[in-house]
């Protein structure tokens, strides 16, 4: 397998390597400049942009791997075909059993690539503050000011105003088969639509009232499973205006496929206007909601879409949608 330069014989190995380098460089350049900037999910948030970079870098490393093996297979398939007239005999014996130099270099190269990739992934994860993925109830990577904002939100003392550069906590409540959003810094009102301010760090607090769902804000590059009685926190920072789609990406039963809605990133001023207006308009309803908490115990009768162990569907209770559980 290693180059064995015998006079007059084609050095297949060298030829394969040259073709491989040429093809890889061309493919990588084409990908990086033509496809790379358009790779989903776009650049609407910091985590989306980071993911796009990550994806592109993985692809630029992955393409030569694909090309290398495929080229090798194709080269072998055409050149060392037993049907070819001048096909030389295979050579067995100790030289064909293995080659220490090749084996060792293969192991070293693959190990180095893999460890570098893992290190790069870890750096990206830390730099992007969890990269938009759910970090569970006790996140270890978060934007500056997130802990204060979250603590204040729970105490009901949180505020957010344009240009304050504060982190905005938003609660995502998943249930079969819809998402609702609560804004603790605006009196804890509940909204069926997700409106976010631009240029702001958002802390999504994702929980569920029944089964496991997954909050996937596609263009925001945020995904966090919604678990019952668990607060799953994910961070991102908005950086572009626009609409995005929210889908459930964990199978949650019958209407899983229909569990989606849309959200919008608006300017900070527009967001504040919308939030204060909705807070005022919903004030009467918000009073009837359980106090803001990270998680909520489903109604014992399963009114929030839970299960019905006695076989009877309990009528939906209009007042007590779900009982609140304060963190101990």
């Amino acid at each position: 397998m290693a180059p064995e330069t015998t006079q007059g014989e084609t050095n297949h190995f060298r030829r394969i390597v040259y073709i491989w380098i040429a093809l890889s460089v061309v493919a990588d350049l084409l990908f990086w400049f033509l496809v790379g900037p358009h790779v989903p999910p776009g650049r609407m948030t910091s985590s989306a942009q980071g993911d796009q970079l990550d994806f592109n870098i993985l692809f630029v490393i992955g393409l030569p791997v694909l090309i290398g093996v495929w080229e090798w297979l194709a080269y072998a398939a055409f050149n060392w075909n037993a049907k070819k007239k001048d096909a030389p005999e295979s050579v067995g014996g100790p030289k064909a059993w293995g080659n220490k130099r090749t084996e060792v270099s293969w192991i070293i190269v693959t190990s180095v690539v893999v460890v570098c990739l893992a290190c790069f992934g870890i750096v990206e994860l830390v730099v992007l503050q969890g990269a938009g993925g759910g970090e569970g109830p006790n996140p270890i990577w978060y934007p500056h000011g997130a802990i204060q904002a979250e603590t204040a939100a729970l105490a009901g003392t949180g505020t957010w105003s344009p240009n304050s550069n504060d982190v905005l906590p938003v609660q995502v409540i998943a249930q079969q088969w819809k998402f609702t959003y609560r804004y603790p810094t605006f009196g804890g009102f509940e909204s069926p639509e997700l409106i976010l301010p631009d240029d702001t760090s958002i802390a999504f607090n994702v929980t569920s009232l029944d089964v496991i769902h997954s909050f996937w804000a596609y263009q925001l590059e945020v995904k966090a499973d919604a678990n019952p009685l668990e607060n799953n926190v994910a961070f991102t920072r908005t950086q572009q205006l626009g609409n995005f789609v929210v889908r459930c990406s964990e199978l949650c039963g019958l209407w899983h496929g229909a569990m989606f809605n849309y959200g919008t990133v608006v300017s900070q001023a527009a967001f504040e206007k919308w939030a204060t207006a909705t807070e005022a308009a919903n004030a009467a309803n918000t009073k009837d909601l359980p106090p803001f908490a990270w998680t909520y115990v489903p109604d014992a009768n399963g009114a929030a879409g839970g299960y019905y162990p006695d076989g009877n569907v309990t009528p939906y209770s209009p007042v007590e949608i779900y009982g609140a559980k304060q963190p101990s």
Partner: protein, 656 residues
């Protein structure tokens, strides 16, 4: 060797001299008498009725499942007694019961003729054939469900099925395919060829081997029964609390996986013991064929990972029948418990579904490249490395689930590390093909397709293991495409390579090459056309297991669906090939049609019941292709096999 004491004749397992059965064959032909598939069906049916009645009797009115009219205890007991009745009916319990009563067991005679394939047979070759049919039944059932899925996804707004039916089809498809894939190579080819490859006369525990097949087939009945109980809505992953919420079909899922895991443990344990203890003299670890290495690595995973699935399934059954709360968060359990138990089994399971494929490819490539396997030790090390690491990666399925966040870098690292030993398999393949003289027979084409497909599967796996990228691709069509590329593109292609390669040995009849080529090319092309677009569909934001999707993804979905139908049709060519070559117009195969040096090809065809007249003494490894003057593979003693069409010494060094 008390285990063979009640066979028709005492068999000399150690092989000093011809075994007695050759001198005095007392093989029975029973026709339809005795215990066989028919009695198993009757037993299963009676067990079902009895269990259902018993459940309703002892627990009437207690835990009825909403809107189903079913009592969960009755469903569970019906399924449990159905499996028991099935096993009693086939005769699996005759031996243990007789022994418990202090009697000698009757009825475990070696049947001759076609009816032995429908009986509880202890011959590993019969069990192998039974497994071939069994996994194909699983595979085609799952395949038809896949066709239904792709039909529904032809249009985002016009629906063929209701949302309810659709999600149940998806769940049933996934579960059946996973159950099939965990046995698809180990069962048929592992059981059939491991003893032949290591020079053994039988498996270490023939009864456990037969048991593993019949419990596997009972698992099919159980999981299939879910459809009659209204299905289950959880997908093959069965996440709680959706599991707790689901109807009686969920019990079929939980109990079915429990049953299958028992079969997996039995098969894995038996294969591991056989490989460790039943190797012929001279079959050192450095001479063991690479397929056997892959099987022992798989056997270790089967034995160690399946108990976790069994435990997880039993917890779920308890939750559903007697109202425990293992997975019910608000009563002190945890939905994370199921996720962790399931994936602690589930990730080794993924390699249970990859390693045997690597083994087949490693076994077949040298035969058609006419070169020794390149870097044999690296190949074996790669398989063992994958098997070990596979226990340390399971949380990568839970990156976004809210697990402890500092687990994520760790599992990202371990997951990416596993691509190093996987890469060994590619080094071995590429090295073997280097300056080879490749003969393009059907099995070889399938092997090269495994490298093509598995590479896509493997590289996309690195994308999934990267946590930032995982945020987008987790739970979407990207991951769906990824694992179809590894399992179907890798394992199923390898399984067909193995079938085309070894069927001439198993049945003594050739497979038709022209139909084989048609099968290969249609399957290869349409497989890629079906699943490659799914990477793009996933990146564009389509989650898994949805019956409706964004309008702009319809073109890609339709392309994928139509390719999927053609992919489904390619298996009809395979069925036609089997029918034509094996039944309608059979042609006798040469003794060693591919000029392989493997030990399994050097027995007579049809293979005598105890494989080797004398246990061969292995002299070298089986990969001395294109090496004039290489030592003979094995010494078969002075007595050559009577009916052998391939004298063992002649094919070892002459390979052209």
């Amino acid at each position: 060797m008390t285990i063979s004491a009640e066979r028709p004749t005492e068999v000399n397992d150690m092989g000093d001299g011809p075994p007695d059965f050759i001198a005095q064959p007392k093989l029975r032909r029973h026709g339809l008498l005795g215990q066989h598939l028919g009695t198993a069906i009757i037993g299963g049916f009676l067990g079902y009725i009895l269990g259902h009645w018993l459940g309703n009797y002892i627990a009437s009115g207690y835990p009825y499942i909403a809107n189903s009219g079913q009592n969960s205890i009755a469903v569970l007991l019906a399924l449990a007694l159905m499996v028991l009745g099935w096993l009693i009916g086939i005769g699996a319990l005759n031996y243990p019961f007789a022994k418990m009563l202090g009697r000698e067991a009757k009825g475990e005679v070696e049947y001759q003729g076609w009816t032995r394939y429908f009986r509880y047979n202890l011959d590993h070759k019969v069990v192998g054939i039974q497994y071939v049919v069994g996994v194909l039944v699983f595979f085609f059932t799952g395949g038809l469900l896949a066709m239904a899925i792709r039909t529904e996804l032809l249009n985002p707004t016009v629906h063929v099925f209701s949302a309810d039916t659709y999600i149940k089809i998806v769940s049933e498809h996934g579960t059946i395919m996973m159950m099939m894939a965990s046995s698809v190579v180990v069962g048929p080819l592992g059981n059939y060829f491991v003893p032949l490859m290591i020079g053994a006369r039988r498996m270490a525990f023939p009864r456990i081997e037969a048991f593993s097949f019949w419990i596997f087939s009972a698992g099919y009945l159980v999981i299939f029964s879910a459809l009659f109980f209204g299905g289950f809505p959880t997908g093959w992953t069965g996440y709680a609390p959706l599991q707790t919420q689901a109807g009686p079909g969920m019990i079929s899922y939980l109990f079915g996986f429990a049953i299958i895991s028992i079969g997996m443990m039995a098969a894995g344990f038996n294969l591991a013991v056989t490989i460790i203890n039943y190797r012929a003299p001279g079959m050192t670890w450095s001479r063991v064929p690479i397929f056997v290495w892959s099987i022992i690595a798989t056997a270790a995973l089967l034995t160690l990972a399946s108990p976790v699935l069994l435990a997880a399934g039993l917890f779920g059954i308890l939750d559903k029948t007697v109202q425990t709360a293992f997975y019910v968060t608000e009563h002190g359990g945890s939905s994370y418990l199921w996720e962790n138990l399931f994936w602690f089994f589930g990730h080794p399971e993924v390699y249970i579904m990859a390693l045997p494929g690597f083994g087949i490819v490693g076994e077949i490539l040298p035969v058609f490249a006419r070169k020794p396997l390149f870097a044999y030790r690296i190949a074996a090390a790669g398989m063992i490395g994958v098997a070990l690491l596979s226990f340390f990666v399971w949380q990568h399925h839970l990156f976004q689930s809210g697990i402890n966040p500092d687990m994520r870098p760790l599992f990202m690292l371990t997951t990416e590390l596993i691509s190093i030993p996987t890469g060994f398999i590619f080094l071995v393949g590429m090295g073997t093909l280097y300056k080879a003289r490749i003969r393009y027979e059907v099995p070889m084409l399938f092997c090269m397709a495994v490298y093509f497909n598995f590479l896509i599967g493997g590289v996309s796996g690195v994308f999934l293991s990267d946590v930032p990228v995982n945020v987008t691709v987790h739970g979407g069509f990207f991951v769906l495409s990824h694992f179809h590329y590894t399992i179907m593109g890798g394992l199923i292609f390898a399984f067909f390579a193995g079938l085309y390669f070894w069927l001439p040995k198993m049945t003594g009849k050739k497979m038709n090459k022209k139909l084989g080529l048609w099968h290969f090319w249609t399957m290869f092309v349409f497989f890629n056309l079906t699943f490659f677009p799914m990477f793009i569909i996933g990146l564009l934001g389509q989650p898994r297991r949805v019956f409706t999707y964004a309008k702009n993804l319809q073109t890609l979905n339709d392309f994928s669906s139509i390719s999927a139908f053609l992919l489904g049709a390619s298996f009809l060519i395979f069925v036609a090939n089997i029918m034509w070559s094996q039944f309608i117009s059979p042609e006798k195969s040469p003794a060693n049609p591919w000029d392989s040096l493997g030990l399994e090809w050097q027995t007579a065809t049809p293979i005598p019941i105890y494989n080797f007249e004398r246990i061969p003494v292995i002299m070298t490894d089986p990969y001395h292709y294109s090496e004039p003057g290489a030592p003979a593979l094995a010494d078969f003693g002075q007595a050559t096999m009577a009916a052998s069409a391939s004298p063992p010494s002649s094919s070892t060094s002459a390979d052209q």
